[in-house]
Chain length 453, copies 2
């Protein structure tokens, strides 16, 4: 039994829905289809979700939905027309959308949530109607009926443990089940949406719930690349990577999945298969719990800029029990999250994303560290990039660090910082932002192309 999730661009038009249908019916194991709202058909197009947000806000301001109402309905109508579905489904969608907008009993937050979520909800109804029109048994599943209960945190809903048991019951239903992504219901019956990439989260939750053998995630790329294609042209595709590898890669710029999206699938040890709706023959990338090590120690290289380093030194720091804890306490009071804590004997550096800071905050924090911890020196280095070199094969491979460091040195990149040894599957290098691309290219050459000059 498989859960298949399709992103917005896979559902933007009738032509796309046809591809989706063909993909789903080509494998009888594809049981639950999780759908996003219709996405962009062309670069300047507007996503249905964005129309809905504008609609909800306009409604709250003026009491009227205005032009947004028509714009939303037209997107569904145009898909329905393309697929020759007849008027019935559009009437259903229109009625339900009007009812939703007319409901003034909800709080402001819950109203916006319901309107946003209707993009996926109505699209699921549309897709179910289309599948039925093609003659297969298919039905729309309402997340409330399916028991997908979540916490009452609008825009950041967390799945409640009981939801998994409820969803397991979907296995008993016959036919293909079309499930709207992005939201669940609170125990009070209100709609609450997940955070960014919410449909990925729904797919992951449903895969866990029905104990799927695989969670197929269809998007618009053939595979996950081993390095950012804007830095290295035509990079190698990754066939298989582990959850750990994906997490380490996603850290520094790889945005295959939103951090939390795969958590439910991860916990149920369900493999995730990333595939391309527009090229379903492509092998895609499988994210698995364990993989056999193949093709050298490195599976991917990711990088991201915008980090800074707060350096703190104090003579005899290592003798002072509690120094590190007090330092982290100060950061915590400012709600700052840090990435790494490299340390020497008398110094420690805190690596964090610099967009969390501003001039005033930074001055304030440095002052507190100086005063409260009696530091000899406190200073900040801005504009650092972190590069993650990731691979399960790294651990058993004496010399991977030597190769990486040599490649960087040969390309004239100075290593500001190395963090290696906690994770068994990654090495992290800190470089100045200006060196980031040069460094990534050098590492790619070394580990993917072959011997560098």
């Amino acid at each position: 039994m498989k859960v298949v999730k399709f992103g917005g661009s896979s559902l933007a038009s009738g032509e796309q829905l046809e591809k989706v249908y063909n993909i789903v019916v080509s494998d009888s194991e594809r049981k639950v289809v999780v759908v996003s709202a219709p996405g962009k058909r062309y670069p300047d197009d507007i996503k249905v979700t964005d129309l809905l947000i504008a609609c909800a806000e306009h409604m709250l301001e003026t009491g009227e939905a205005g032009e947004y109402f028509d714009a939303v309905i037209q997107r569904y109508s145009s898909i329905a027309r393309e697929l020759e579905l007849g008027d019935e489904i559009i009437e259903i969608i229109t009625d339900s959308f009007m009812q939703l907008l007319a409901d003034t009993s909800k709080s402001r937050d819950h109203f916006i949530e319901s309107v946003k979520a209707s993009g996926e909800d109505n699209n699921a109804k549309l897709v179910a109607a289309y599948f039925q029109s093609r003659g297969v048994e298919a039905s729309y599943i309402n997340p409330k009926d399916a028991g997908l209960f979540v916490s009452d945190e609008p825009g950041n809903a967390q799945v409640l443990p009981e939801a998994y048991e409820n969803l397991y019951e979907l296995r008993k239903k016959s036919g293909i089940l079309i499930f709207p992504g992005f939201f669940g219901y609170t125990k009070e019956g209100d709609i609450a949406t997940f955070s960014r990439s919410g449909s990925d989260i729904t797919g992951s939750i449903v895969a866990n719930g029905i104990k799927a053998e695989v969670y197929e995630n269809f998007t618009d790329v053939d595979a996950v690349y081993s390095v950012n294609p804007s830095i290295v042209k035509n990079p190698k595709e990754i066939r298989e990577l582990t959850y750990r590898e994906m997490r380490e890669l996603s850290y520094a710029g790889f945005s295959v999945f939103h951090d939390e999206a795969l958590m439910p699938a991860f916990h149920a040890e369900i493999p995730v298969h990333v595939k391309n709706t527009n090229n379903p023959e492509a092998l895609g990338t499988r994210i698995v719990h364990q993989r056999k090590n193949q093709n050298g120690p490195v599976v991917g290289i990711a990088s991201d800029g915008g980090f800074c380093s707060i350096y703190v030194s104090k003579y005899l720091m290592n003798r002072e029990i509690g120094f590190g804890r007090k330092l982290l306490q100060i950061l915590e009071e400012y709600h700052l999250s840090y990435e790494h804590l490299p340390s020497g004997i008398d110094d420690i550096s805190i690596i964090l994303r610099q967009d969390q800071l501003n001039y005033v905050l930074e001055k304030d924090i440095l002052q507190r560290i100086q005063t409260e911890l009696g530091a000899d020196e406190v200073k900040v280095q801005h504009d650092l990039s972190l590069i993650m070199v990731v691979g399960e094969g790294m651990r058993c491979n004496v010399g991977t660090m030597a190769r990486a460091a040599k490649a960087l040195a040969a390309s004239g990149v100075n290593i500001e910082m190395i963090n290696q040894g906690s994770s068994e599957v990654s090495m992290m290098f800190g470089v100045i932002e200006a060196d980031e691309k040069k460094a990534v290219k050098a590492l790619y050459e070394e580990f993917f192309v072959g011997v560098t000059v």
Copy 2:
């Protein structure tokens, strides 16, 4: 104006005192001579300080000093006889020692402190008498008269800030001043000793107090070596190293100075010159604030075993503000001090000296981390060695890491862990203990001998 400190082995016999005398008078800038108690004359000899501790304990148990009294006096007498000093100085020492032992007004702690400190105190009197007998102006200085006030922490006294101002007055005294090391006086007039290597601390405090141009520390080695001579035969001597470099080296096995000993000299930016009493012509090693970079990026390599690593992993750890702080809080509650905190995106490792742990404690801590932090996995790796590669020149030298990693890889050593980037003057490698010597040799070959095979 210089402060010169001599260790116990430099003052163990009349022959040694003659060397001390010749060294001091050969440079008229040598103003204050800080002395230890007489040390060992031969490997199986007993240090006077150890005799004194035994004496004090015997006294407290039995009310009598017994054989220890004579043993102590005999050490001084034998030196005095060797130097043909006459009976007067031994009578002074004997009387003062008897008075000390007879004084029952002190608390147990303060009694032991006074008896321990008498080793240095009486030796300072003896050395002053000897210098006078050679016809130079020299006088014994009592730390109380000189205003060396300390906190009332027996065995771990901390100098009080006012002491420095008091000691500055020593500049006005004429002749050579013989100052006993190892102890000061509390404001209540009690003796309190410093921690281990207490005479080094006294020298450092006096050097700060009188604003010495240099603090000469005479011991029994020609210089600080660039690597442990028990690992590499006849290693290169270090001519000059900075305080920071020394601190980084002292961390992993280099025991030139006790950690705290140089703090007062460090704060006053006074260079420390390590020299050999038995070979004063040798150039020794200078510890300075800044040095010109010479002879490659690395100045020394140190290593030490007995570390362990506590590995903690949790999916999405980096999203959890406060995770690191809570982890350190648990360690702090057990009074554990850690060395490093390498981290991945979903994991963090704590490197600490394993002699702080035992089976029960370890189990307890792992349990708490698992339960209180909801970690997915917690495990311990024992028997790790840390290797510090230290040098001020490292920062500006692209490729130092590549050379180090390559040397380790070529010798078949797997790098368990790297910590580099906070300190500008060191790289740290973690290896399994069994690989420590091999790794140090390979790094020494690379950075000190020349190109390795």
